[in-house]
Symmetry: C2
Subunit: 160 residues, 2 copies
DNA sequence: TTGACATGGACAACCAGGTTGACCAACACT
DNA sequence: AGTGTTGGTCAACCTGGTTGTCCATGTCAA
């Protein structure tokens, strides 16, 4: 009956390969548009910050990583000029994060490129088909213990 | 044009999340079945070795990584008893890799678990639907600039 | 046969993006 | 006040890679 010639292991590779393809292309194009040092994790982090994570501990919770890891990421973002930090006057333990214009530029471009690539996929697959694919994937991610708007586990690998 | 536009960034997260879900489950179950130290990369590496990569350089080419990285992976596999190496009598530079019974056990169990998880997805989505999803993903991986093309696993002729 | 080049492997240093664990200063709550 | 929670930091380590350098061995042509 089923010509399930495909193995579960292949399915995993298919998912990973698709992800890498998409993300590598975004990173490549981001470099072309003036963000040569941007890494996927930077984008995700800035998005989380914009969504309300205004301190390292906050970001850590949001990304479901340790606060030490979050601190490292923030240090990288500061180094590259995507965010700045300043001590919270109301709680001097806290260091508030603010996204710079450069950081805003990064996620603006990043979002655009992501959407462009998705649009190409849509052209190829058909609108309804891509929507269905996304709905299906949502089911697999949905019963996950992991939080989708918490891409901490989005470590990923360098391109080429 | 209803709920059309999901963002490209979300699509990336969906793909990665699905992959992680699948693989995490396999690793977890592998631990239950007596392979507590098995990592995904070990499985892929052993598969590549079984498919014909019988030296470090060979494995490197097959996995599209550097030979140094391949050597490290092999060292880890040897350490865990999944493979052994011995100098090639016909070319003493070469160190031939041989998979141990333990290594065979790992990929046998691994393959089974991968397939079990896939079967659960199939139940949930429907056979035709999962098949279509795989076909779609294949298109994205197919025009890949990156080297995921290790014939041993991408074109997997598994199942012994 | 020899000399040029290719190949297999190893050593070392490094990177990204995480992890544990220990710790301290500052805040919050009785 | 004292106790406990929270924000941040230092340090060491892990995984799965990367360069760069080096050398012994193998191959092939002249």
């Amino acid at each position: 009956m089923v010509m399930s010639s495909r193995s579960g292991a292949d399915l995993a590779l298919l998912l990973l390969g698709s992800y890498r393809n998409l993300v590598d292309e975004v990173v490549r194009e981001l470099a072309n548009r003036g963000y040569p040092d941007a890494r996927p994790s930077h984008e995700y982090a800035i998005r989380a910050i914009r969504a309300g994570a205004d301190s390292a501990s906050d970001l850590a919770r949001r990304l479901a990583i340790t606060k030490q890891a979050a601190a490292k990421t923030i240090a990288a973002l500061v180094e590259r000029g995507y965010v700045t930090t300043e001590t919270d006057p109301a709680d001097i333990r806290r260091k508030n994060i603010r996204i710079t214009d450069h950081g805003i530029g990064l996620i603006t471009e990043g979002t655009a490129i992501f959407d462009e690539v998705r649009a190409r996929w849509e052209t190829r697959l058909g609108t309804a088909e891509l929507a269905e694919l996304e709905t299906q994937l949502e089911q697999f991610v949905g019963d996950s213990p992991i939080n989708l708007d918490a891409p901490g586990w989005a470590a990923g690998q360098e391109l080429r």
